[in-house]
Amino acid sequence: MSRSFFARNPSVLIFIAVLALFTLAVTMASEAAGSGALSTSFVKTLGKTLCLCLVALAMDLVWGYTGILSLGHMAFFGLGGYMIGMWLMYARTESIVAASMSNAAIPPTDQEIVDAIGTQIFGVVGSSEFPPVWAFADSLWMQLALVVLVPGALALAFGWLAFRSRVTGVYLSILTQAMTLALALYLFQNDSGLRGNNGLSGLQNIPGLTGVPQADVSLWFFWASAFALGAGYLLCAWVVSGKFGSVIRGIRDDEARVRFLGYSVEGYKLFVFTFTAVIAGIAGALYYPQAGIINPAEIAPIASIYLAVWVAIGGRGRLYGAVIGAAIVSLLSTMFTGGQVPNLPLGFYTIHWVDWWQVLLGLSFVLVTLFAPKGIGGLFDLVTGRRSPERHGADLGPDSGSFQEKEAEE
């Protein structure tokens, strides 16, 4: 990355600096540093928020820049979580089982240990056999590879089918909703091999780190999340800064025109869709060890809709907008739904925020869409004076040639 990259994109430097300062501040205020100003659970919340910012970045790339309103990216996020969750659960159960069996008079065989792990993990769904999808669960490296490969492969297959048939607009959005719904319903089944609606749990206990207090583990994951967000931001900024960014914004604004310039629009869409799915998978793999549990409800269609709402509120088509939107809305959401905001007594009625938060969120989404289409990120334009041109694409009518509103008025 040359110096001119930062010169042309000063917001990248600012973002990285802010992220670094934030990470430093949280570190110093954490229990691990002996301060205790921030509880361990709040550090986890902040770490999770950074992961949500990362997946929002992916959403902004695919929607804000390329114009594909995918309402299925949380499926990739969830898959990333499942992939790492399988190793976490397997390895931890293995250590517990091995410890308990080591006291037995006759040392257990390897097969006996595996069987015991199977019984432990799959007992809740009335089984003890390892399904084929767990084939690599004993290998951290394989599961880490799958964090990238599984969401990537699903996105590639889905995108290939959808884009090749030139499915666009609202039809594509519906299709992505169908994809995430189908995946969630499949995972809900007990015989899907991923423990049905129980999901994977105990993910906060990192195998091999049993002696390390959660205060430390939470901080490590917070650092990893901050690093991933920073790296993801740099990568995305690099992708959108050059000619590639020009082409995908061109696809968003007028895809037919891009085709006639000789670019394979379908190829570009597939590229962006798959790339962002991989980012989402990585974000999920960092999120769920901090959340501790993943189950199929996490990839319900509504999750991906929320993701779109965050990006819309933050301001799509600019990377920091997506991050701001995800951070603010998801933190507020945690506060409101967690009962941290005092109820509002109106005399005749008391507003319980736990119930009313959804309404508030929905309302803000509508208001932002109507009155501030550039979202929160648009506020920065007031400072920098960036303006977008008047867009009046339509002709007055077929017969007036190419006269447009403005020329006609003059």
Binding site: A256, R259, F260, S264, S402, F403
Partner: protein, 246 residues
């Protein structure tokens, strides 16, 4: 003379309405050709067929020395094969600068991986400055193209076409909505371009066509009514009846 593009026996209908009816047309290398015809004659549809946007019901569209059929190629493949197109209404990427618009059009590898790692070299920037000078937008390179006047957008689009270095340029009503001075500049640009490549211009305006000073094809109800010099076709009784006499 070897033909660059040969369209033969092409028909296409929309919901039973024959927009193009057994049309045959050919153009050689480095030839300037004007297509005239009343509204709805099928001029834009003809361009849609050549550029792969519309698939004809029957007929052949053959391209280049290798006689490739364009009918099996996608829009982007056809564009890469060397056919550039200017739309009836100016379509530039309004949210992006003039420079970015031209850079996107510049003839380069179009595959995603290559585009991702592409960083403009001095010669690319030089080429863009040359093009900008040609279309009279040297001072506007950093402006968003959405801020340009209507005529400037048309030129930018022509500049983007030239940047693609196509062998055949299809230009749909370039002079619509332009002032007289702008029209003259546009004629010059097109005549200049036709020195090194084939250019097909669809136009309504007779004065504009006269200034192009080239062979004219008259389209009517989806097929060729007459072909020849402007003076020749304007004397043709059929042409007078359906087009000029109105």
């Amino acid at each position: 003379m070897s033909q660059l593009l040969e369209v033969s026996g092409v028909s296409v209908s929309f919901d039973g309405f024959k927009a193009i009816n057994n049309l045959s047309f050919s153009i050689g290398e480095a030839e300037l050709r004007a297509i005239i015809g009343p509204n709805g004659a099928g001029k834009t549809t003809f361009m849609d067929i050549v550029t792969g946007k519309t698939r004809p019901d029957e007929g052949r569209v053959v391209w280049g020395a290798l006689s490739q059929s364009l009918l099996r190629m996608s829009e982007s493949q056809i564009a890469q094969a060397g056919i550039g197109r200017k739309f009836q209404r100016p379509t530039v990427f309004e949210d992006q600068s003039v420079y970015d618009n031209l850079m996107m059009a510049l003839k380069k590898d179009r595959s995603p991986w290559r585009v991702l790692s592409f960083r403009p070299q001095a010669e690319d920037r030089g080429r863009i400055e040359e093009l900008a000078a040609e279309i009279g937008l040297s001072d506007a390179l950093d402006r968003k193209s959405g801020e340009l006047s209507h005529g400037q957008k048309q030129w930018l689009e022509i500049g983007m076409l030239l940047a693609q270095e196509p062998k055949l340029l299809l230009v749909d009503e370039p002079a619509a909505g332009m002032t007289l001075a702008e029209r003259e500049h546009t004629t010059d640009l097109l005549k200049q371009a036709a020195k090194t490549r084939a250019v097909v211009v669809v136009e309504h305006d007779m004065e504009f066509v006269r200034r192009l000073d080239c062979k004219v094809t008259v389209l009517h109800e989806g097929s060729v009514l007459a072909e020849g010099s402007l003076d020749h076709v304007t004397k043709n009784q059929d042409v007078i009846d359906v087009y000029l006499g109105r």
